[in-house]
């Protein structure tokens, strides 16, 4: 018990010591220049960029206690070059992971990213990179393109954040005493707890921001993973977000359901979720051979891995025919027009149309005086099977005889009703005598009815 207490005291003290460290007061003297207001330069793209750092802002930021050179390692001399200011996040970082005691690094992500279709993006100046230029000229996104920190705390969460922040003193502060800790890490951790990760909808929106832009996607050059040849993108690629939105996956996520699969769920299901590759790449999660594994991830379609389901993965998740064709330019061009399904289907439709028109005319000539309209396809069969009349010949007779039959139907059926009333077993079929459509049957039935009545009377 005593040892335990001692441990706690030691822990608290130790913590206090670490967190109570004073903030670095710019040991490399970077702020001696960068604190100047209006310090700016014109970059290669001709954009005026500010290099001013507000020292009070910096000190109160998350990185306030981190000296500039911890990240901008290549800056050795003064004055330094612009290129040297870039930060390489794949190197080890100043943060130590408390449970492992290892310096934090983005290296695994770097390696994954390197193999993905977006690999070109890694090398763009990671922190200093100008996002303007990146959007305009290059197709590969940098880290910041997706991990943009513009809204540090989403507006929707701001109120909750403020509320929780007020309680942080009592809740986090129970253990983590000391202003320095609370000031530096409290907000950061709280924000992580509240904001957590993006939800699937936001995840998808991140992809759609780029991939949903048809114009931009048309300009993308795709690379064949085997031959390394570049080719223009296919329609499947250009309209990938639209086709996705039509699938059940896309719809569920759009409905804010937890059950849809987001882009990343299928395209980079493993590890750090950066390993997005072309479906033609045999190591890609979306390669046909790997689909059973991908679709069968935990609590998705687990049965895809089982025999008998080979066809399941054939389901087209980017089915172009579902997209609103108004967005396409292609079908209106002659070449693709001849290859398209609808161009060819026009011919049989045209044939049917001609038959329809000619047939209508002939029908009108032959049958314009017939009162009774019977569907030309299957009408006859209906008479025979459902109504129990005879085929064509019987029908013609029936049409002619119709009024006569109708007139004396009434009294006859009344007679029959009384008969039925006396008859004990009403499941016996009743047949009108004067309509011997099925002669043999009618005869036997009539005899039976008569017999029954006789019995009853007796």
């Amino acid at each position: 018990m005593l040892r335990f207490l001692f441990l706690i005291v030691l822990l608290v003290l130790g913590h206090e010591q670490v967190s109570a460290n004073p903030r670095y007061s710019d040991p490399d003297g970077c702020l001696s220049c960068h604190a100047y207001e209006g310090l700016s330069f014109i970059d290669e793209q001709g954009v005026l960029r500010s290099a001013t750092i507000d020292s009070s802002h910096y000190a109160s930021s998350l990185h306030g206690s981190v000296p500039c050179k911890d990240c901008h390692r290549e800056v050795i001399n003064y004055p330094h070059k612009v290129e040297n200011t870039e930060v390489d996040c794949s190197e080890s970082c100043h943060v130590e992971e408390p449970s492992e005691g290892v310096k934090y690094t983005h290296d695994p992500i770097h390696k994954e990213m390197d193999k993905s279709v977006h690999s070109g993006g890694w090398y763009k100046g990671l922190t200093g990179g100008n996002r303007l230029e990146e959007i305009e000229t290059e197709q590969d996104p940098s880290c910041r393109r997706c991990h943009s920190n513009t809204l540090y705390i989403p507006e929707a969460q701001l109120e909750k954040f403020k509320e929780d922040f007020d309680h942080a003193e009592t809740e986090c502060g129970n253990c983590h005493q000391g202003k320095a800790w609370m000031g530096q890490f409290g907000g950061h951790i709280l924000r992580r707890l509240i904001g957590r990760r993006w939800n699937n909808q936001e995840n998808n929106q991140m992809c759609i921001d780029c991939h949903g832009d048809h114009e931009k996607m048309r300009d993308v050059k795709q690379e064949d993973p085997e031959t390394l040849e570049e080719h223009p993108p296919s329609d499947r690629f250009v309209y990938s977000t639209d086709t996705y939105a039509k699938t059940l996956h896309g719809r569920l996520i759009a409905d804010d359901s937890a059950y849809g699969a987001s882009c990343i769920d299928c395209h980079a299901p493993l590890a750090w979720k950066h390993d997005i590759r072309s479906y033609t790449d045999s190591e890609s999660a979306s390669h046909p051979d790997n689909l059973p594994e991908t679709c069968g991830q935990s609590d998705c379609h687990g049965y895809t891995k089982k025999p008998g389901n080979e066809g399941f993965t054939l389901t087209d998740m980017h089915n172009l025919t579902l997209v609103n064709l108004a967005d396409f330019k292609q079908p209106l061009e002659e070449e693709s027009l001849r290859g398209s399904a609808w161009f060819w289907s026009i011919w049989p439709l045209l044939l049917f149309g001609v038959i329809f028109i000619v047939g209508s005319f002939i029908w009108w000539l032959l049958y314009r005086n017939t009162k009774k309209i019977i569907p030309i396809v299957g009408g006859d069969r209906f008479e025979r099977v459902m109504v129990g009349r005879k085929g064509k010949a019987g029908r013609k007779k029936a049409v002619v005889k119709k009024p006569a039959v109708k007139r004396d139907a009434k009294p006859k059926s009344e007679v029959k009703e009384t008969k039925a009333a006396v008859k004990p077993d009403s499941s016996e079929p009743i047949v009108e005598k004067d309509k011997p459509v099925m002669p043999d049957k009618a005869e036997t039935d009539i005899s039976k009815v008569d017999n029954d009545t006789n019995n009853k009377g007796a």
Partner: protein, 350 residues
């Protein structure tokens, strides 16, 4: 003027029914799609999908099933609601509310009968449950998206295509669009009474029909029932039944409870009150109203929902004449037949 007169002759219940269908079409389908939008969807698909969760994938476990159920939770609730109401009142969802079957029916009713295709006399139970089996088991295993043959997305999609910009119509000539259009036109607009899709292909209708038949013998269930002793065999009801559910067996109307939608039309057209949408009567079968001087007077109508073919020698004969009765074997055969045909069709596409 003639049109107005024609409308005036529509029976009251049918007027109400058409009005209900128009109302649900306007609230459930695009471009208004008011009700689906309340739950964050703009058509009847996605979390509203009622017809996917019961698909069977080989090797599927209960957990997988519950994932499917949860994914389409609203659809599952709607489905259960439909089944429960069906148990008590007959298929009123199909007859009175479903905008999908209803829209096709209404548009078909506006056309002259001459050019229509008469599907009603086909062996609908065999075809329907054959396709249902194929839909449940074979389609998922083959990886065919059942959605392109699903009217619950077809009709909203067509309406969406036609309600937007004129170029949206291009959807109609894409391959999926053509299939959808074919479904709507061949099994809807140009089908006699416009319910052929419901008869043959709708999985909800198929499940609903089973529930309808199961409940038919229960005393509390409202069904279309026939009083045999009143039926004159005039067959107006069989001609008017939009689902082909009435068949004249031995010149008496018999209602096929697996297919009947309780639309009430047969009741409206029968001049002899031989049909009614009602529960089982309290009196016994063939109980007379009174017995006077040892003579039984006029039996109370004996409202029967299910008529069994009399097992007699002449029943076989009548079966030959009026088409085969339904048997488990023929349903099974139809299932195998349809599966083979579909595999061939699908195989030729791949």
């Amino acid at each position: 003027m003639k049109v107005i007169e024609n409308i005036k002759t529509i029976p009251k219940v049918q007027k109400f029914r058409y009005a209900m269908i128009i109302l649900t079409s306007m609230t459930l389908l695009g471009p208004l799609a008011f009700l689906p939008q309340l739950v964050g969807s703009d058509d009847l698909c996605g979390s509203l999908c009622m017809r996917r969760f019961y698909l069977y994938f080989p090797g599927m476990t209960w957990e997988d099933f519950f994932v499917h159920v949860n994914a389409a939770s609203i659809g599952v609730m709607a489905f259960s609601l439909i089944m429960i109401t069906t148990l008590f009142f007959g298929r009123i969802w199909c007859g009175y509310l479903c905008p999908v079957g209803g829209l096709a029916e209404l548009s078909s009713r506006m056309l002259n009968d001459r050019w229509k295709i008469e599907f009603r006399s086909l062996p609908q139970i065999q075809i329907r449950y054959g396709y249902f089996g194929f839909f449940l088991v074979a389609m998922p295993a083959l990886g065919i998206s059942a959605c392109s043959l699903c009217n619950f997305i077809t009709i909203p999609r067509l309406i969406e295509a036609m309600s937007g910009e004129y170029r949206g119509m291009m959807f109609l000539v894409s391959s999926v669009g053509l299939v959808n259009l074919g479904l709507l036109l061949l099994l809807g607009v140009f089908a006699s009474k416009g319910r052929a899709y419901c008869q043959f292909m709708c999985p909800i209708g198929a499940a609903d029909g089973l529930v309808n038949r199961l409940g038919a013998k229960m005393p509390f269930a409202r069904r279309i029932r026939v009083a045999k002793e009143r039926c004159t065999g005039c067959n107006i009801c069989a001609r008017n039944c939009m689902c082909g559910a009435i068949k004249m067996v031995d010149r008496i109307a018999t209602v096929d409870q697996v297919s009947c939608m309780s639309c009430h039309e047969c009741v409206d057209v029968c001049d002899w009150n031989a049909l009614a949408w009602t529960t089982k009567p309290n009196h016994k079968v063939n109980e007379p109203k009174r017995i006077k001087k040892n003579t039984e007077i006029f039996p109370l109508p004996d409202w029967q929902a299910v008529h069994f073919n009399p097992v007699k020698a002449d029943a076989v004969e009548s079966a030959v004449k009026t088409g085969p009765a339904i048997s488990v074997l023929s349903v099974f055969n139809a299932m195998i037949f349809l599966t083979v045909i579909s595999i061939i069709i699908v195989g030729s596409f791949l």
